[in-house]
Amino acid sequence: MKYIKIYILRNKKFKNQNINFLKIKPFNCPNYNFFGNEIRRSLLLNIKKTMTITNIKFFISKSKSKHPKKLKIFHPVNEFFDIEEIKENLSNICINLKKLRFKFNPKNNKEKKTFIILNSFNKKSFSAKDIIIPSTSNLKIVNLKEHLFNKISQKINLKVLIKIENNENYFYNPIKRINFILEKNNNIGKYIILDLNSDININPFKAFIESLKYLNLNNT
């Protein structure tokens, strides 16, 4: 068994990112540069366990139908369709939606995907706050103030169906930037300083500890 001593120098949350400074002192480590680089590589390669949007679909219907007793029928609409009642293009809405970040604490390990819905009936500007999340799943949107689109008139209803998945094939890395520095002190000796920037939906310290599982330090 090998022991590692970790100091948390700084741990801050910002609007767009989380910043963490860690000081690491591994025992009996001949090559510090190798150890630091392995941590950096495993953080970039292996941390992918976050929920991301994989599919978006749009549906529209008329708000006033001729037969009021009839059910409203929603028709599917493709991404390149322009709607006069909404100011942005649908492809621009897709770009806005993909800026959303989620937090997820699954009850079961089997639960891997959920669906969320955005209904727009009124005339106003819609943001991430208006998205409906099913009560059964433990999903949370982190950036609720993100602007999505403006609706100008009430003639039409727009419904957006969003699929959120933990798909490993879909590439998304929550860690924005990582760097390591080797330093030397007379009292402690050599040590590593990790500089970690991540997205707001994960805790960088937890990600660091998770990355240590994947390390293969037999060569040291």
């Binding site: 970039l44 991404e79 293009n89």
Partner: protein
């Protein structure tokens, strides 16, 4: 600084101005030739002064959708008299339809956007040339035959018409034209030039024997005289043009004797002869052909007028033909029934003029002329540069194969008028040019460039801008703009005078140019730090900017030169406000602007009541509002298959000025031009993958959609509507699974919004047919036929969404179009480039972890080869790269004037170091600027975390994705078509053909001695008919390969030799005839 805004003009002014001139003046001038036609008993009158233009029926956008032409109708009142009686009353008839120019300078013809390029040709006038033994003067008119006057060393003078071999002596020629001997001698005696004409009594005139019969068949003086009169003095056959007469006037006459006649006068010949004698005495330099003072620009208007002139000549001859026909018919009728009374003569209005034929004739000009081309609308820049092209090719121009290198070179007079850098590469180099920035074209067709006046070393900007042509540049000394800032007295400066460059004192300068980049075109003007690059690489940079694809999330460049707004204004997809007002409504489809108006009395109150059913008090003032509606719809149809959208920039209750941009297309973002992306690059070699200009990119660019573009693919099919209904579009297709048909509508065409992956049915079509006539009866009874599936499938590798379907009906035929949009991510083999001509192909896409990273941990996105810089000499890319780096760290944007080096020495280098140092202090990243090796730092290897040995330069540069995509070009063959005669595989990707195994490739295999491989390639794999089919059977049965036979192409050779009459045959080893 100079107030540059003064010189900026509308960049499309050349096109629109000349077309307007054609409509207002050109048409009427041509129509005057057939104003009154009197032939035998007929008299036809066209009242040209009452000419009318009718508005186009369809708008330009709906013409694009319906595949029709955008044109205006010309209407003229016509009157026909027969023997003094009026048959046809004065009435408006539609003369013809002319294609009309849109606001952005394009034409729409059969649903395609087209453009007519300006032509640069030799101007009409006199050209004098010196040869070893003689002096030549050629007279070039606008229309008509050329004349050359020749003067020997023996002082004999001859005249030559067109390309007739024998020449006529000048003296007899002048006699024939009507000048008497006395007049000639008198005019020459005055100046004591009688010795030049050898008419003294002692020496007789030596007239060489000539065949005057070549001019006319009968050897008669009258006929010769008539012939010459028709050639030069008749205005129908000969026309000097405005510029031709202007040039002759200037050379021969004093200002008192200037004339406006478009034909040649006998005095003109005397004048030219007089001028030629002068030249020999004073030794004036002969004219240069390549000078711009001898070349004129023909724009759209003039080219159209030339075509219109030919059409009107045809009309005149056709009308006279028809009159003759009519009279003959009438005479015959009178012979048979003499006794009958004269009936009233009735003539249709279409009898003499058929407007449909005329419109087809004009349409032909726009579709077939080599100068009219399909508009290159890949991005806003390529649109504009295509409109400002100048070509020396075309009708009446230079032929492509005969053009020597002397014609293609840059001339001194090009300064400020034609760009010396931007031309097309390859065959057309130097023949297809582009206009410089601020030029103007005057009424004669010469190009003019703007200058400020300088008097005794003081620059007078208050006096305005002077436009100077190459002709006027003779006695003027012009200084470049570079000296403006450090203008010191008592110093010599570089000056241009009479196409020569030398140093002269400041006092002698007359004019100074308005801006530093006056000489170059708009495409090259966008490149920042242009002055640090080699001209060859700037040319490549300018041509590659035209090929840039517009990417998904657009991003403007951080360094600009200040011309980007002008380019967007003239793009096809932007909308400009026609009137100022407030915005009432703006959405993704419509913008409404209300004009501010005063309160006024409503004039007709009763009318108002009728419409609005309201009661009004007397004298109540009503507000009248004027709405203007702008529709943002844009058609999918595009010459370069690019996805297009249009979005509004304005909000509700905004105040808008006239001429402001309201909505913009895909190529611009808030008025900034967007062609590429700002990406972090580093200059190092990485495991040999970037050898020879190859490029390595990181996975991030592919996964985060940074370099993805959107394309539209059009699939087309025709359906002929027979009476028997042999073909039909339906959903019910035999022998196909339900899964494949689920996306089809009930009418058989695919639904909008359905996804497509690989080969899928787009239109379901069935063909009915009968096999045997015996079975026909059964089918007739059951009313069923055998049905065959011939439905249209989507192309092989297409993955996308159906966005639109269209159905047109053209007579008996239905045309169905299906539009599919697809996103294309970046791949290995795609072409990337910078703005400085640094291009390359992607060789490897590697994960982010392996990429080298900066000292703060951010990985690099693109790795370029440093060896690409020293030999190519495009240092501007490094300047751009480093200034962009400080721009991102400081969050600033820069506007850099081209040639800013003139302010003080090493200006751009100092600016960049200053900015980098500033960003180091602000961000507290010490590695951004190191004074020992500025612009470089130590980077770290991504694989092992160790630093590289040497410092590496890095930064952000603006990178473009070009239209040469690997996916569209890659191709492999399995089963293909074979050509009909020689039975070899065809070539080309569209025919699913093979790759040619040429002469050099055969040599390579011969070199290795692989004889059997070569035999297999030339026989079984290409045109050995029997063994080609046999080999599959042999492989399946486990037999050995059969021996190859004589190939089909060899048999064809022998057949061809036999048809020449040679007895040639093929024999086997046993000396028997080869029959197979």
């Amino acid at each position: 600084m100079i107030n540059r805004l003064k010189t900026y003009s509308n960049l499309l002014n050349i096109q629109s101005k000349s077309f307007k001139n054609f409509l207002k003046i050109g048409i009427i001038n041509e129509l005057k030739k057939i104003q009154k036609i009197i032939h035998s008993n007929f008299e036809i009158n066209f009242h040209i002064n009452a000419l009318k233009y009718k508005k186009p029926k369809l708008s330009s956008e709906s013409c694009l959708i319906k595949n029709e032409t955008y044109n205006i109708d010309i209407k003229i009142p016509m009157e026909i008299k027969y023997e003094g009686k009026i048959i046809f009353k004065k009435k408006y008839i539609s003369f013809c339809k002319i294609p009309f120019m849109t606001e952005k300078g394009t034409f729409i013809c059969n649903g395609n956007t087209r453009i007519i390029i300006n032509q640069l040709i030799r101007s009409p006038g006199i050209y004098i040339k010196k040869k070893k033994n003689c002096l030549l003067a050629t007279l070039i008119p606008k229309t008509g035959s050329w004349i050359t006057i020749k003067r020997n060393k023996k002082k004999e003078n001859f005249i030559k018409i067109d390309k007739i071999n024998n020449s006529i002596p000048l003296f007899t020629f002048l006699n024939i034209l009507g000048l008497s001997k006395k007049k000639i001698t008198l005019s020459l005696n005055k100046n004591n030039y009688s010795k030049n004409f050898k008419i003294s009594k002692k020496k007789k005139i030596e007239i060489p024997t000539i065949n005057l019969t070549q001019l006319s068949k009968e050897n008669n003086i009258k006929t010769i005289r008539n012939n010459l009169y028709n050639r030069f003095l008749n205005s129908d056959n000969y026309n000097l043009g405005d510029t031709g007469r202007f040039k002759i006037n200037k050379k021969i006459y004093k200002t008192e004797f200037f004339t406006n006649k478009k034909i040649l006068m006998p005095e003109d010949f005397l004048g030219i002869f007089n001028y030629m004698i002068k030249i020999k005495n004073i030794n004036i330099k002969s004219n240069k052909i390549d000078d711009l003072k001898n070349k004129i620009v023909l724009s759209v208007g003039e080219l159209m007028q030339n075509k219109f002139n030919n059409i009107i000549k045809d009309i005149y001859t056709k009308i006279i033909e028809k009159i003759n026909k009519f009279e003959q018919k009438k005479k015959q009728e009178e012979k048979y029934n003499k006794e009958k009374k004269e009936e009233k003569i009735k003539i249709n209005k279409t009898y003499f003029i058929n407007s449909k034929n005329l419109t087809d004739n004009i349409k032909k000009f726009i579709t077939t002329n080599p100068l009219s081309q399909l508009l290159n609308d890949l991005n806003p820049l390529s649109e504009l540069t295509h409109k400002r092209k100048i070509s020396t090719l075309g009708i009446g121009g230079i032929e492509k194969n005969k053009a020597s290198t002397k014609i293609r070179e840059i001339h001194n007079s090009h300064y400020g008028r034609i760009c010396p850098i931007e031309t097309s590469e390859g065959k057309n180099a130097g023949l297809v040019l582009s206009l410089a920035k601020d030029i103007r074209i005057n009424k004669h067709g010469f190009i003019e460039s703007p200058f400020y006046k300088v008097i005794k070393g003081n620059i007078k900007k208050n006096k305005g801008i002077f436009f100077i042509s190459s002709e006027n540049e003779k006695n003027i000394k012009i200084a470049p703009c570079d000296i403006l800032k450090n203008f010191k007295l008592n110093k010599n400066y570089g000056v241009k005078n009479k196409n020569e460059f030398y140093y002269d004192s400041y006092k002698s300068i007359n004019f100074i140019s308005t801006s530093t980049d006056q000489f170059n075109s708009i495409g090259t003007g966008i490149i920042p730090f242009l002055e640090h690059n080699d001209a060859n690489r700037v040319l490549m940079g300018a041509t590659m900017q035209k090929q840039a694809l517009i990417l998904k999330n657009k991003e403007p460049s951080l360094i600009e030169t200040g011309r980007e707004i002008l380019i967007n204004r003239d793009s096809k997809s932007t909308i400009i406000a026609k009137e100022s007002g407030t915005v009432i409504y703006s959405s993704s489809k419509k913008i409404i602007i209300q004009k501010k108006s005063k309160k006024s009395k409503f004039k007709n109150i009763n009318l108002f009541k009728k419409y609005f059913k309201k009661k009004l008090k007397k004298n109540k003032k009503i507000k009248k509002h004027k709405h203007t509606i702008y529709l943002l719809n844009i058609d999918e149809k595009n010459n370069s298959n690019i996805y297009q959208t249009r979005t509004s920039i304005v909000k509700k209750n905004d105040w808008i000025k006239k001429g402001q941009i309201i909505a913009e297309g895909i190529g611009s973002l808030n008025g900034n031009l967007c062609l590429g992306k700002n990406i972090l690059v580093g200059y190092l070699s990485w495991e040999g993958y970037n050898f020879e200009d190859a490029i390595i990119i990181s996975e991030r660019l592919r996964n985060e959609d940074i370099l993805t573009s959107i394309h539209v693919k059009k699939c087309k099919s025709f359906l002929i509507n027979h009476k028997e209904k042999k073909e039909e579009i339906t959903k019910n297709i035999p022998d196909i699974k339900l899964k494949n048909v689920k996306n089809l509508n009930n009418n058989g065409i695919i639904k909008i919004g359905s996804k497509i992956n690989g080969k899928e049915i787009l239109i379901g079509i069935i063909k009915k047919r009968l096999i045997n006539y015996e079975v026909e009866l059964i089918y007739e009874i059951l009313s069923e036929y055998e049905r065959k599936n011939i439905s249209v499938l989507s192309p092989k590798n297409l993955v996308g969404i159906v966005t639109n379907t269209k159905i047109h009906k053209i007579k008996n035929c239905y045309q169905i179009e299906i539009y599919i949009t697809e996103k294309k991510k970046i791949q290995i083999g795609d072409k990337l480039s910078g703005r400085h001509g640094n291009k390359g192909v992607i060789s490897k896409i590697i994960p982010i972890v392996d990429m080298p990273y900066l000292p703060d941990g951010t990985p690099i996105d693109i790795i370029l080869n440093p060896l690409g810089i020293p030999s190519r000499m495009n240092v501007g890319q490094i300047y751009e790269c480093l200034l962009n780096l400080s721009a991102i760290n400081l969050k600033e944007r820069y506007k850099i004037q081209p040639f800013d080096e003139y302010q003080y020495k090493n200006n751009s280098e100092i600016l960049i170091y200053k900015k980098l140092n500033q960003s180091r202090k602000k961000t507290k990243k010490e590695w951004l600027f190191n004074p020992n090796n500025p612009g470089k730092t130590i980077l770290f290897n991504g694989k092992n975390g160790k630093p590289f040995k040497q410092t590496i330069s890095f930064g952000y540069s603006y990178i473009l994705k070009l239209m040469h995509i690997a996916e569209e070009k890659i191709h492999a063959k399995t089963i293909s078509n074979y050509s009909s005669i020689i039975k070899q595989p065809v070539k080309g990707k569209s025919k699913n053909g093979g790759q040619r195994f040429g002469e050099m490739e055969v040599w390579a295999i011969e070199g290795f001695g692989a004889a059997f491989l070569l035999q297999e390639l030339l026989t079984i794999k290409s045109d050995d008919l029997h063994n080609k089919s046999q080999i599959l059977k042999n492989l399946m049965n486990g037999l050995s390969m059969s021996k190859p036979n004589v190939p089909e192409s060899f048999k064809l050779l022998i057949l061809e030799l036999q048809s020449l009459g040679l007895n040639i045959n093929i024999f086997t080893k046993k000396k028997t005839l080869f029959t197979k």
